[in-house]
Symmetry: D2
C-alpha cells in the first residue's frame, strides 16, 4: 500500500474560464490513476493545494508531520517543482525509515500535453522498490534529496 | 544507458483515416519521451511493428537475439499485451544477466486517453533499479515473468 | 431548434480495449456539444450506430423517414464519410422544405486529434442559416448534395 | 477567400513551463485549421497577441484599419472574449460592406479540452454565408454586433 499526499503544484493547475487565470480546483490524481489503469493499492489525501513558490514553513511542517504519522512506509508526494528540493530537505530532517518520493510536472495535467502521467508512473514505481530515504523522481530519473537541483533555465532536474 | 526495443502492439496503433482501420505507422516512443521530458539516456530501435497476436516464433527469436546481443544490460521492450507473457518466457529462456522490462498499453497512445505514458514512465523506472531478470511492468506494477498473466476479461495483469 | 440525428460513422468510433478493435458504443455528441459550450437549442436522437460502408437501403429509408417526420425544419445528420453522398441523395429524393446538413469526421472524436469538433461547429452553423435543401458540410465547406464527391485518395470532399 | 486576423485572447494562450504562468507565443490557428482538415481558402495574419482586457484604442484602430484595407470581403477575427463586443462596435463604426465575424474561446486551444476548434468551425462557416455586417460567433450561435453581450458570470454570450 502506497500513501499519496497531494500538495498542489503545476500537476494540478487548471484554467479558470471565468477569470481567465490559472487556478487550483480539485486534484486530478484519481483521474490520472484511472487513465493509467493503475492497480497499485493507494490511499490518496490532499494536504493542501498551493503553488510551491507560495508554500510556507508551516505548510512544510504539515507535510513532514503527515509523512511521519501515516501508517504507510512508502509515500509519493506531488509537489510544485520550484521548491521541491526544499521540501525534500525538510522531509529528510523529519522522516526516517520510510521511502518518500516527491514528483511533479512542468505542464498541468489538465492541459493535454503534460508530463504528469509519465512522472506519476515513474514515481509510483520508484516508491515501490527504493530503500528508505527521501527522493525526487522527475524526468524519468530518481535522485537522493541532497544530490539534485532544478535548473531554472531549462526546467530540468539535474544531479549535483 | 537503457536500450528500448519497439515491437508494436496497442502502444503504437494509429487510425488510418483513408482506410478507416487501425494501422501501424512509425513508433510514438520518441514523441512520448519528449512529452514526458525524459532525461533518461536511451537508445531506441524498432525491431518490428506488429499486433502481438500476429507475432511468430521467428519474431520472438529476433527479440531474444537483440536483447542478448545489445551492449546495454538494462532493456525496455514495448509489446502488445495479448502475448506479452509468452515473449517474456522466451526471453527468460534466452537472456541471462540482464534486466529486461516488457510494457505496453491498453489504449493506443495516439488516441488521447492512453495509459501508454504512465506505463512508459513506470517501465523505464523499474528498468533502472530492478536486479537482472525478465519482468512485465503494467498497471503501475511489476511482475516476474513467470508470476503473471493477463486477465482477458478485464484487461488487467495479475499475479499468479 | 435544430434536430441532430446520429447514425454512427468515424465520428463515434471508439477503441475497445478488451478486443483491441474499433467499435461503436454510445454517441459522443452530447460530450462534444458540452466541450464546444454550444448554446444552440438541439434535440439529439441516435437512429443507428454503423459504419457507413455497412449502411443498407433500409437504414437510409429510416434516416429519410425521420427527417421527414420530425417537427424541426433544420436538421444535422452525423454520418460516415464513405457513403455520405449516397444518403444525401436519398434525402434529396424524400425530404422537401427542410435544411438538412450531413457531417462526419475523418478521425474519431475519441482519438484526441479529431476534426469532429471543427465539423460539428461548422455543420450546426450552416444548418442555422442555409435555405431549405440537402447539404454536406465537411472541411469547413458546404456543398449541395449533388455537387460533391469524396476523394477516396485524399479523404477530402470536393466540388464536382 | 477568407481573411483571418489574429489578435490573441484565450484562443492562443499557452502555459510557459519555465515561468509557470500563462503566456502568448505564436498563434495556434494554422495547426487548428490542419486538425480540422479545413479546405477553406484562407489568408492568416497576426495583428497582435494580447489579452483582450489589455487591448487599447490604438490596438482597436489597427484591427479596424486592417479590416478596411484588406482585399477580402469576408473576414474572421480571433479575439479575447472580455472585450469582443467593444471591438465589434469599433468595427461597426469603421468597416462597411464586409462580413466580419469575431470569435474566441473560453479555454485555450493548447489545453486539450478547448471550445476553440468548435468556435473556429462555426465562425468560418458563418463568415462564408452571412450578408455584410459585423457579427460575433460564439457557443455555436451568431449575433449582430449590437445585439449581444458576454455574461460575465457564466461566460456565455447572450442576445440582448
Amino acid at each position: 500500500m502506497i500513501r499519496i499526499f497531494i500538495t498542489g503544484g503545476t500537476f494540478d493547475k487548471t484554467y479558470d474560464e471565468i477569470s481567465g487565470a490559472l487556478a487550483f480546483e480539485d486534484t486530478h490524481l484519481p483521474e490520472m490513476l484511472r487513465l493509467g489503469r493503475s492497480q497499485v493499492e493507494v490511499s490518496v489525501r490532499t494536504l493542501m493545494m498551493v503553488d510551491s513558490l507560495a508554500m510556507t514553513e508551516t505548510d512544510r511542517a504539515l507535510i513532514v508531520h503527515n509523512c511521519q504519522q501515516c501508517e504507510e512506509a512508502r509515500i509519493v508526494v506531488t509537489h510544485g517543482t520550484d521548491t521541491m528540493v526544499e521540501t525534500a530537505a525538510a522531509l529528510a530532517r523529519g522522516v526516517g525509515g520510510k521511502t518518500v518520493v516527491l514528483t511533479g510536472a512542468m505542464i498541468p495535467y489538465a492541459f493535454g500535453s503534460s508530463d504528469g502521467l509519465f512522472n506519476l508512473g515513474s514515481a509510483l514505481s520508484f516508491a515501490q522498490i527504493l530503500p528508505p530515504g527521501i527522493y525526487i523522481a522527475m524526468n524519468g530519473q530518481h535522485f537522493a534529496w541532497d544530490a539534485v537541483r532544478k535548473n531554472k533555465q531549462t526546467g530540468v532536474f539535474e544531479a549535483i
